[in-house]
């Protein structure tokens, strides 16, 4: 087990290095940041001074090494546009995105898994067919369109919920949260629902596929032969048996939820990191883009690692001798 953990940790570090290099090289090919930093009629001296100041005259690999060195000290550079440290900028926006992503993943899991288990348990019933039709929609309809419809329905036509923005937050540990007040929740509701739809559809599918397969297994037959009620079988046996792929996806999806938040945050003007990255792309704010991507990559690698390790906890067969296959 320990060897396995160390091996996975090393892999994670390697992946992080590769990702940071890719992101750095990729992003630094965009446009010329100098044009953003100084007015076009600035003198040649000011131009050269600025280039030197930001180290833009050095070869790319030197810039990367310097970047990497600063990165290890937690320094992601400064935003060209907002002129503040990228890390502070991203960290100030991160709680909003985390709250949104967490809310939507929870909706996806707590609504999607029961629906999916039901659809897998009674695949031929009308309700199951409706659930599956809904999941096809959730999968295929682009997030931005659903967001639009949600705003049109609940904000414009019904006027029940606010159409955007974050509304009031409550400070806990120096960070503002929406979910602690009823009013905050009304602001959170639509974006969270919007962001959760894809996850919901995915959880439904996975839970349904797993349930269908497990229901045919001898384990379920044996449980039935022992006289267990169908509900107990679903809640205890089936849920346990399908949980491994579900937890994997739950974890991995949390990462991609952060990414998809880009769209939702744009539509609902939710002040998270997603909106930040879109703004930085349009204004060619390279340090913010790089910083954001490195952070996302870091989150991804961490999540992958946690998911891999939690496999071992969930599946007793894997606990010894590392991973099977």
């Amino acid at each position: 087990m320990l060897g396995y953990v160390i091996q996975r940790l090393l892999q994670a570090v390697l992946v992080m290095l590769a990702m940071s290099a890719l992101v750095f090289v990729g992003v630094y090919a965009i446009g010329n940041p100098i044009d953003v930093l100084i007015s076009p009629d600035a003198t040649q001296e000011i131009r050269a001074a600025t280039i030197r100041h930001y180290g833009l005259d050095l070869p790319l690999w030197r810039q990367y090494l310097a970047f990497l060195g600063r990165l290890l000290q937690g320094d992601l550079g400064r935003s060209f546009v907002l002129n503040m440290p990228v890390l502070d900028l991203v960290l100030s926006r991160l709680p909003a995105t985390l709250e949104l992503a967490l809310a939507s993943v929870l909706i996806g899991a707590f609504v999607g898994v029961p629906l999916g288990i039901y659809a897998g348990y009674r695949p031929e019933s009308l309700v199951s067919r409706l659930i599956m039709a809904g999941s096809v929609l959730g999968f295929s309809v682009p997030t931005f369109w659903v967001g639009l419809i949600l705003i049109l329905t609940f904000a414009v036509n019904l006027n029940w919920l606010p159409a955007g923005d974050r509304g009031p937050t409550v400070e806990v540990f120096g960070v503002g949260w929406s979910f602690l007040t009823l009013e905050g929740l009304t602001f959170l509701a639509l974006p969270a629902l919007n962001l959760s739809l894809f996850k919901l559809a995915m959880m439904i599918r996975l839970a349904r596929a797993g349930t269908r397969e497990v229901m045919l297994s001898d384990t379920v037959k044996f449980a039935r032969a022992a006289g267990l009620s169908e509900f107990t079988i679903l809640r205890r046996h089936v849920l346990r048996l399908i949980s491994i792929p579900l937890v994997t996806v739950f974890g991995l999806e949390f990462g991609s939820t952060l990414a998809f938040a880009v769209v939702t945050e744009t539509i609902f003007s939710w002040p998270g990191v997603g909106k930040l990255i879109i703004d930085s792309i349009t204004s060619l704010d390279r340090p913010v883009m790089v910083g954001y991507l490195v952070l996302v990559a870091f989150l991804f690698v961490t999540i992958n690692l946690v998911v891999d390790l939690s496999y071992a906890l969930l599946d007793p067969r894997l606990r010894r001798g590392g991973r099977a296959a």
């Binding site: 992946v15 992101v23 990729g26 992003v27 090919a29 965009i30 096809v136 929609l137 999968f139 295929s140 309809v141 682009p142 997030t143 931005f144 369109w145 639009l148 419809i149 705003i151 049109l152 414009v156 159409a163 991995l252 990462g255 991609s256 990414a259 998809f260 880009v262 769209v263 744009t266 539509i267 990255i277 879109i278 792309i281 349009t282 883009m289 991507l293 996302v296 990559a297 991804f300 992958n304």
Partner: protein, 286 residues
């Protein structure tokens, strides 16, 4: 083949979806013939006709069936032209991604060893990374235009094909006859083309169908975020984005109709893909 079609026909829902796909594709191809206006010719646009509701008779004398957008484009025409672009992008991206992905996947399964490990590591890594972020960054790096967009879509999607092809080819590789064929001095090419490729095709077709829909959705999303194609040739996503600001004031048609066209197309393709998946999956047969 006829048996396949007979089974397909049993699901009327899937048949309806297929009909919709065919109709939409036909309408997109025939767009110049069945629309009153070329919405990409700026000379045709009259700002006096802008933001008119459906049924408005414009300065050119014909009825705007679905109204007009903020630039005075006839929405019906703009939607069909937008569908053209969406389909072009989706199909081009899907085809290129399938070729690259399938090649990599089969190569990995066929070559084995380090090549296999290296390719699949990269593919898996990329699969765990959200496609939309990758596409976003690439579009930002490469700039706006059709080619950059297709490159971004391909980069975001090829990994799905590689995974699928690899999975099918690796299963096939373990079967005895492929082992036997590999042991004989037949050229590897023949093994690949005669044995491995045909068995990879069904899952690739299923993934391909769904990925074309995904590419269309992704393109629309990028355009909605303002990072897709140039605004002079609005795709469906951009039409929707442009109408977004007018939605609050009740001019919902500018966003709604292009959106409906987009959704109908994407959902129909997905339903067709689902049916194909069910039919290709022997495990679900009873």
């Amino acid at each position: 083949m006829s048996a396949f079609w007979r089974e397909y026909r049993e699901n009327w829902f899937a048949v309806a979806a297929l009909v919709v796909v065919v109709l939409v594709v036909a309408a997109a191809i025939l767009a110049p013939l069945i629309t009153p206006q070329d919405p990409y010719d700026l000379g045709n646009l009259n700002l006096a006709d802008a933001r008119r509701p459906p049924g408005f008779i414009g300065s050119e004398g014909y009825t705007h069936l679905l109204g007009t957008d903020a630039q005075g484009r006839d929405l019906y025409s703009a939607i069909l032209y937008g569908l053209r672009i969406s389909l072009q992008m989706g199909l081009a991206a899907g085809a290129v991604a399938m070729m690259i992905g399938a090649t990599l996947g089969i190569l990995a399964a066929h070559a084995g060893g380090r090549v296999e490990q290296a390719i699949m590591r990269i593919v898996d890594l990329q699969l765990s990374f959200p496609a939309i972020l990758l596409a976003l960054v690439l579009v930002a790096v490469l700039g706006q235009g059709k080619v950059p967009l297709v490159i971004a879509l391909v980069a975001a999607q090829y990994a799905y094909f590689a995974r699928t092809a690899y999975g099918a080819a690796a299963t096939e590789r373990q079967k005895d006859y492929v082992e036997a064929a590999r042991a004989t001095p037949l050229p590897g090419r023949r093994v690949v083309f005669r044995h491995i490729l045909p068995n990879c095709l069904p899952p690739l077709i299923v993934v391909g169908t769904v990925q074309v829909a995904n590419a269309i959705a992704l393109e629309a999303t990028l355009s909605f975020l303002g990072l897709g194609l140039p605004p002079t040739e609005p795709s469906l996503g951009m039409l929707i984005a442009n109408g977004f600001q007018y939605m609050m004031s009740g001019r919902t048609w500018i966003s709604i109709y292009p959106g409906i066209a987009l959704i109908v197309l994407i959902v129909a393709i997905n339903i067709v893909g689902d049916q194909l998946r069910d039919q290709f999956n022997p495990r679900l047969r009873r």
